[in-house]
Every structure is written in structure tokens, then in C-alpha cells.
Symmetry: C2
Subunit: 589 residues, 2 copies
């Protein structure tokens, strides 16, 4: 072994011990008679001292070493004269007596510091240097701890980790598959799994009872920021359960992770229906770190009721929905700031046509951007409806229901950020429940499964399904949302072959198509499938949330860029003709 | 939840408790007034009792259920009149009061019993039923325990699990890659990793210090029995280590696994050089559960020395090697049995030309199949050399050194099996060390790395390398062998860029080829690579060894057959033209 200790473990209690350390030269300081080197490894930094008077040769040698040289030294642990109490090894240093350069280093293309001067592109190209930086290394260590704690929890609950295959079968339903040409079965292809969904259901049919896997999944989609072609899921399935059992179990997992990874106690997760999430937050993944719920001044349901919106302002008159939020204490927002918000909601990504505001003044009077259409009494009714007190700012949007909700959701999040209500180190978790089973796709003029074709309708809604009221059928499906991010989702599955066949029928599959694509699962259901359900968590995203960061990229050791390229190894790349010949495929010119 | 308990947990202490169980109907017996059902789940079997007198309706219902029906029952735990002490739940049964069929089942195509009537093909097609059988399920549970315990050990040693990418770059060196056409980078391909070798080395350059991963790897090779296109490795790498550190660490892992999975204490692993393994066992993975070492009567080294083989028998006269084993106590082997052995070694897979035997009789006289060529005195010298006592059988083979050793290795294993010396529940582990660094390939007329191009030569042999004596250079490489199976192998890596460039040179790479294929690793070595080394274990194989079985297939949930097909899901399969168009590839007709 090239060391007796790591660079993170020596303390004042080790004084006078002779030790050998190995690591990288983090930085070096010449102070005339002395040279100090900070030696770094994964575990920490230890200061090395070289004295010109007592050992000039060694000191000269040390002075020749540049940043990131790999050094091995032996010496005595001594107490520092000038201590650094910010680091655990800060009370000691090593009086070096033996010195060896294990390897030299070119000057790295960016600084190996917490705040590096390297941009994203160069950091990714030299990822092996980037990972030497503490923040990136800490993210990978956090990820390890997350998977450890996930396994500890699930193992204790009798879940069995089963590896499902990576080379599987392509299914046109859903997102695009990556495919793998088969050499031994020319003209045929494997697909990489988008998730182990069918396999975990087969494991339930197989009686494995409780399954999990921390597993790579693959989707060949056009990459948005922060979407990776390969990503990792915590994939789980349980038999003989109902929705309530799943919610309790995985609420337990998330509490365990917060407790054991972050030291945070999480209360029981609040539950919200999909309908309420839409109504009060304009989203199926509301950020509940802050309240600022939507208040509807006019909606499709209240159109003919005594209205808070007397006729006069065409935008509101013609709207299906007039809905707003109340920014507590923000009445002093300037015209400029309000104009910024208007510009924000008008951006093409949001696409709103405008924004109405009303300030509640200290005297209780209300001043709005639509004063010419509404009188003070109406404005006061609004303020009352929105629970707005003197000093508060009301922001209103109007239009078609879904679009308006989506736009106001963005505005709410923007206000939350501006108001400092979205601290990444504060966590608000919840379950969103009662998703619709089916959604209609206008383009393809057919119903699609909102979750996937194996999701079970709520038993009490099966009648609606039989009546053809597909849009009203609710699913036994659930999402876990943390800080406005969907971290996991799942459902109780259909385990009855007749209901499953009926579902494929609603989705427009012919019997033959259903058999060709999912025959093995439907056949399996002929042999005694148990009631079952499960959930999958996006592990990369969960790690970034626990790390208090928005980007998942730095929680993946070797991520790909937005074109799906690994710029470090330069993949994908062209392959030999010999390989193409063996596979029996041609690349189109 | 559909149950209060599992089918494996009720005991005599639970008597009078009212419980709800769910599971599969394993078997059902009608005894006139009573019906008994064995209800099965992953955890065990519980007997259900239905009484015609007390509840005829329920009993009738139960009698209508076939094998593998999914049942949910409620009832009272009562003491059995006729106990089955072979199973943990054998003292109790459930007096059923409520009964529900959760799902029906067709009659399964084979029996769900430990010894099924289903052949391999049908078991694979209905793998979800096969896994319901206890032996297969137990294998998967064993696998889970193996990975759990592996992680527990490595986590405690500060190893960090890091996920390396699955979509990487194809490299022509080594086995054939599976490739994945890129849609976003048309004409280019990703490759699936044969191992995370270069990534784990980059993680060492990145300062991660101790890395592991239980990870899927892929090789597109023609499948021999028991080779899978996707397989799992325990992949490990450490920094600032020498060979001795690695051997100690992973000896620790294997001891931990034997202790915690099998309850077996393993001694320190014996070590054997590659040269000795060849000389004494004719293999680089000797089965050391039994001794029966090779004894050389004549070898290239002893050709001109006083010989045990006086001239006269052309086969021995012309042989580079005359070598034998002594089967203790097997002198009574009949002529027929000896002929069988001769046929065995003459099979094309072994390819020997013949077999010479000699029996040591009770009176010390020796009777051989070559009596007409050698006198009794010579035969007695052989017996002495081979430490053969009265009652022992000597088996000799002769010819070219490597071929003869390989053939005798097969004969030794066959004799070991016949003599009952290869009990799958007895474990003999060892390290094989000092592998050659390079081996010459006559066909391609160049040197190949025996391990891989990153393996370090022994420092003391670098001089030989510089002198061009490539065949004599030993590597810092090691294999772990258990019961004649290579379960793991690894090496200390080259971490010096000059030596690495030199190595590529010896392997016949031009600078450009080396740069094109391994440039990212060689570049990384410019920035301070630490000394490092590692090992990888074949996890499927390790599990089958611990399970006491030869085949790995039943330790994999969903294996592929010898044509690389998954017969359950029918993969690989043809894909849509739409998919081919998006990828810009054509399948040759």
C-alpha cells in the first residue's frame, strides 16, 4: 500500500506518529525558508511542510512539483503553528522526511477548485479532472449513499432485487426505443428497456412478491436540457396490495432517505387529487414549499352564478377562467417590476396574452390595472375572495382554463423564486392522486393511456368505462412530488385478463396487435396473476434534489450532452465495415 | 392489503389468531368430509382446512379451484391433528371462514414442483411460472443475498458504487461489441460495454480512490453453453495499491461472502503461479478440491537428464512430455472402465491419441498397458515417482507439452468426478498469479495482451520487455479460482503514459490507432494518474457456485438461450420501417 493513512484522517491525537500519505498536489506555497503543500485525496486535504534549513534537498524537490502531481510522502505528524479550524485535519501538518513523485501532471485545463474557471464543455471533456473537484465528488458520494439507503430500507421490507434483461423487445407504444441489431438473428433487433415495466409485472406473476431494482433505462428522445438518453430508476413492484399499501410503503422509503441521508424528519405526505392540483396550482406537480394557491374569480362552473366579474372588460368577459394569486406583502412592487412579470408571462414558452394586477393599499383601498372596468367595490370583493390584506399584491390571468392554469403556474413559481420561498434545502413532499386513466389525443384521434396500458382504473369508475365515458375514468395511479418535481410515479396494475383486453381495445389495439406486442404479459395473466402495483423513482433527479441542485448532470459520473454525445470518449462514433457486415446492416449515405 | 401474514410465518404460537392470507393453490386434497388446500407464496406454504359439515358452501367453492388459482382467505389458526415437521408452518392450519378467488388460472404447462416435468425449453418460455418453483426462486433469493453481502463488505471498506455509462464507444480490440445506432448522430453507433474497464480507470484518475459496481456487461459472441450475451460483474478498482493490497482486500470479500451467505469459514487463499498451475494441473484454473497433481516422468527440461523413460516405446520416445496422475485406490478399475477412459480422452474435444495405465498390485508389483516396452524395475520407478502405493492406479499421457497437459487436466477432472472428489458443496479457493503479460498469436503473427492492454508488467520483468523477450514478461495479474472455475480476475494497471505507449507499440498499434481507440485514457494519464489496480468477478457464475450448481442460467431471472433469444418475450424481433428510417440504416436482404 502506498499509504498508511488517507489525507482526511489525521488529527491532533496522531501527533508524533510517522505516516505515509499519497495524493494530489492541490496547491503549494513557498515562504522563503518553508514550503507548504496541500496534499489532496478523496477523503480530505493534509498540509505537508518542507523546511529549507533542515532538509534543503527535499524542499527543492517539492518546489519543482506542479499542481495535480501525484505524490507519496512519509513524515511525522506535528502540530501546526497556524491552525485552520475549517477543516478536520487543520490542526496538524506533516514534517516530510521522504518524498516521491508517483506521477507528474500537465497543468490541468481548468482549476481543480470548488468554483472552477472551467466552462461546462471543457469540464465534460475532462470529466476525470472535473470529478476531482469536491462539489462533483460530493455529488457522486451522495448518490452512493442514496442507493445504499434505498437498499437498506427495501431489503428490510423483504424486497428482492432482481436484475431484468437489458436486451429486450421493441414496442412501438410509448417513447422511442434504442435498438441493437442482432448478429445471430440477422434482420432482427433487440431494444434497450425504457423501464422494466413488463418484467416486474411478470415477476409478480412469478410470485416474487416484492421486487426492486436500481436500474438503467433508455429513451431515444430529443434531449431537452437535463434529460439523458440513459437514466436510472428505483423500480419497485409489490403483490397483494392496494393503492394505500403502496403509498404507505414508499412514503416510508422517502422518509427513510430524508432521515438517513439529510438528517431531516419528514411528516406524513399530504395528498392531493389531480383535479385539485390543477385547480389550485395549475400543475400535476405543484411546488408546495409555499402556499400562494390559485383563487378563481370566475370559472366554467361559476359562469352563470352571481359573478365577481361584472361585464365590461372583454378579456375577462370572454374568458372561461379568471384566476389569480396573492403575493403577500408585495404591493410595493414597482410598475417596472410588474412590467417584467407581464413580459415573463408573454414569453412564447408561457404564451399568455397579459397580466392584470391589483395592489391592496395600507388604507384598504385597491388600485388595479383594470380600474376603468371595475369599481372599488368589485375590487374589494376580489381582495376578500383572495384573502388579500393591505400590502398584498394580486396577480390575475384569464383565458381558456388549461392554458391559463399552466401560465399562472409559471407565474406562481416565478413569484415564489422572487419572494425567496423556494429554498432548495427546504423540502415539501406530497402525493398527487386520482389521475385520469385516459387522455384523448386530437392528432391521432384516439385515447392514450395517461400512465401506461397496464394501469388499473379505480374499481368505482369501471362503470364509467363501460359507458364509454373514458375521460371521466380515474386511475389507481399516483405521483410523488417533491418541491414541484415529479420524483416518482406508479399505479395499481390491471391483473384481470378481461379488463386488460378491454383496455387494449379502448386504446385502439386490434387483438392481433395487442398479442404481438404484449402477448407474453397477457398470456402470463392466464395463469393466476396476483393483484399488484408499483412505483418507479427517477434516481438521477432524486439525487439532484437531495443535493439541493437543479441540474441532474453533476449527479451522473459520465453524462451525455444535449446531442446525446459523450464528449470525453467521443461517442457515438463510426464503426468498421467488418462490424456492419457481420450485423447485415447498411448505413444510408 | 390482501393479507395480514404471509404463507411462511404462522406458527403454533399464533393459534386462535384470525388471519388473512393470499397466495397460489399449490395442491388440494379432498378427504370426504374435509378439503385441504396448500396455499403458497414466496415465503412458504400454509395448509387451509375446509369442513363439509361446518361450512359446506365454502368447502364446495374450494373444491372447484384448480392448481395455481390465486386465493384470498380469512380464518382462524388452529393446531393440526397430523403435523408436518418438515416445514416451519407444519404444526398449524387455517380453519377458513371467508374465501375469495382473486384470480383463476389455466392448468400450467408443467408442474410447479421442485422436480418439475417441464423441459428446459418450455420452462424458459413460461419463465414466470418456472420462477414459482422453489429451486428457481431460491436461486434468485440467493443472488439477492450475494449482492447485498457484496455491497455490505465493499461499503464498509469505503468503496463507492459509481454507475458508468451503458452507451459507450466501440473498440475493435477484444471481443465483439453489441452496437446501438444513433438517431441523433446518423451513421454513428454507440457500443454496449464489455466491461467498465476504461471508466473505472478514469475514476481512479478522477480520485474516486475505491470504486465498485455490480453491473451488466455485454459481449456479442457465439454462445457456448452457459454463456450469456448479457452478464453481470462485480467490478472493482482501487488507487494507491500494489498487487498484495488487492489480493488481501478481495480475499476478504470472498471470505465475507462464504461466511455470511453460506456460513462457511474459508482459510487464507493458497497462491499458485501460472507456471505451477500449468505444470501440476494442466490448467490456469485448477480444481483444488482434490490433489491428484500431475507428475512428469519426462519433460523438455529432463530430456537429456537420466530418464525414467528408457528408449523403446515410440510414443513416449517422441513425446516432449510424459506426465501422469495417480488415482489412489483405483487399481481395481476394470479393463472396460479403462477403455472408457481411453475413449474419453480420445474424444475430439480433448483430442488425445491414447492413454497408458499401470496398476500397483497389492504385492507391490506393477502391471501396465506398456509392459512390453518397459521392465518391472522401470515401472516401479514410475510408481515411486508418482507416490503410488499398492492398490493405486497410474494414468499416463504423452505428447506435445501444452496439449498433453490440457488433455490430462480433463482426465484428472473426470477421475475426480468418478472418485466423488468434486462435491459442489465443498469449496476450494485459490489465487493464480504471475500470468504471462503477452501471448503470441500465430494466425495474426503478433503479440496480444493476455489480460488487456492496460495490465502492468511486473517491475522486475520490464527489462525483459525492453530486450524484446515478450514471452517471458510476467504480468501483475491474478485470477481467483474456486473449484476449478475462474470466478474473478484482475491486474495492477499501467499508470505511466510512457509504459502504456510502449505497450500499445508491442501490441502493434500505431500511435494513431492507439490515440483513436484509447486516446481519452492516454490523455487522462497526462494529468496525474495514481497507481491503481482492480478486479472483476463474474457474478452469475459466483452465484451458481454458491448455489452448488453448474449452470448459471437458473441464477438469472430471464436468461437467453444459446441463439441469444429470449423465447418468453420473443426477442430479438423485426422492427418497423419507421424506426429504420429514423435511424438511417437498412437491413440487407
Amino acid at each position: 500500500m502506498h499509504r498508511t493513512h488517507t489525507c482526511g484522517e489525521l488529527r491532533i491525537s496522531d501527533i508524533n506518529t510517522t505516516v505515509t500519505l499519497s495524493g494530489w498536489l492541490q496547491k503549494s506555497r513557498d515562504l522563503g525558508g518553508m514550503t507548504f503543500i496541500d496534499l489532496r485525496d478523496r477523503y480530505g486535504i493534509t498540509q505537508l511542510a518542507f523546511n529549507m534549513e533542515t532538509n534543503a534537498a527535499l524542499c527543492e524537490q517539492a518546489r519543482k512539483c506542479g499542481r495535480e502531481f501525484v505524490l507519496k510522502i512519509t513524515g511525522k505528524v506535528i502540530e501546526r503553528s497556524s491552525k485552520n479550524l475549517n477543516i478536520l485535519t487543520g490542526e496538524i501538518e506533516i514534517e516530510v522526511t521522504e518524498f516521491e513523485i508517483l506521477n507528474e501532471s500537465q497543468t490541468p485545463p481548468f482549476t481543480i477548485e470548488d468554483n472552477t474557471d472551467g466552462g461546462d464543455d471543457i469540464r465534460m471533456k475532462y470529466r476525470y479532472l472535473d470529478i476531482r473537484r469536491k462539489p462533483v465528488r460530493d455529488n457522486l458520494l451522495l448518490r452512493h449513499k442514496m442507493s445504499q439507503q434505498t437498499r437498506i430500507f427495501l431489503d428490510a421490507q423483504e424486497f428482492t432485487e432482481v436484475e431484468t434483461p437489458v436486451l429486450i423487445k421493441s414496442t412501438p407504444e410509448g417513447a422511442r426505443d434504442f435498438v441493437v441489431p442482432s448478429r445471430m438473428n440477422q434482420g432482427q433487433f433487440y431494444a434497450l428497456p425504457q423501464s422494466p415495466q413488463t418484467f416486474k409485472q411478470l415477476l409478480m406473476v412469478a410470485g416474487m412478491d416484492r421486487y426492486y431494482q436500481i436500474v438503467k433505462c433508455f429513451r431515444d428522445e430529443d434531449l431537452r436540457a437535463d434529460r439523458q438518453p440513459e437514466f436510472t430508476q428505483i423500480d419497485c413492484e409489490m403483490s397483494f396490495v392496494e393503492q394505500e399499501d403502496i403509498l404507505n410503503m414508499f412514503e416510508g422509503l422517502v422518509k427513510h432517505l430524508f432521515k438517513n441521508v439529510k438528517g431531516i424528519d419528514i411528516d406524513s405526505l399530504p395528498r392531493m387529487t389531480f383535479a385539485d392540483a390543477a385547480k389550485y396550482y395549475g400543475s400535476d406537480k405543484p411546488d408546495t414549499r409555499f402556499d400562494m394557491k390559485f383563487v378563481e374569480l370566475k370559472s366554467v362552473e361559476t359562469l352563470h352564478a352571481t359573478s365577481l366579474i361584472p361585464a365590461g372588460f372583454p378579456v375577462f368577459d370572454n374568458a372561461d377562467l379568471v384566476v389569480g394569486i396573492c403575493a403577500k406583502g408585495y404591493a410595493e412592487y414597482t410598475r417596472k417590476q410588474l412590467d417584467e412579470l407581464t413580459e415573463f408571462v408573454k414569453r412564447p414558452q408561457i404564451g399568455a396574452t397579459g397580466l392584470v394586477y391589483a395592489r391592496v393599499n395600507a388604507d384598504g383601498s385597491v388600485k388595479s390595472s383594470v380600474d376603468k372596468f371595475y369599481n372599488e367595490a368589485t375590487l374589494k370583493l376580489w381582495a376578500a375572495a383572495m384573502n388579500a390584506a393591505p400590502g398584498d399584491l394580486i396577480l390575475l390571468m384569464a383565458g381558456q382554463t388549461d392554458k391559463t392554469r399552466k401560465a399562472l403556474c409559471e407565474l406562481r413559481l416565478e413569484m415564489g423564486t422572487r419572494m425567496g420561498l423556494r429554498n432548495p434545502n427546504v423540502y415539501a413532499c406530497l402525493w398527487v392522486l386520482d389521475f385520469p386513466l385516459l387522455e384523448f389525443n386530437e392528432e391521432e384521434n384516439r385515447w392514450f393511456a395517461m400512465h401506461h396500458p397496464f394501469t388499473s382504473p379505480k374499481p368505482e369508475d369501471i362503470a364509467l368505462m363501460n359507458e364509454g365515458k373514458f375521460g371521466q375514468v380515474r386511475a389507481n395511479a399516483y405521483d410523488m412530488v417533491v418541491n414541484g418535481v415529479e420524483v416518482g410515479g406508479g399505479s395499481i396494475r390491471i391483473f384481470d385478463k378481461t379488463l386488460q383486453a378491454n383496455m387494449f381495445d379502448v386504446l385502439g389495439f386490434t387483438k392481433e396487435e395487442a398479442q404481438a406486442q404484449f402477448g407474453f404479459l397477457m398470456n402470463a395473466f392466464e395463469y393466476g396473476a396476483p393483484p399488484h402495483g408499483g412505483i418507479a423513482f427517477g434516481f438521477d433527479r432524486l439525487c439532484s434534489l437531495f443535493g439541493g441542485e437543479n441540474s441532474i448532470r453533476d449527479f451522473i459520473a459520465f453524462p451525455k450532452n444535449n446531442s446525446g454525445r459523450d464528449v470525453m470518449i467521443d461517442a457515438p462514433s463510426e464503426i468498421d465495415n467488418k462490424q456492419l457486415n457481420e450485423l447485415g446492416i447498411d448505413v444510408r449515405k
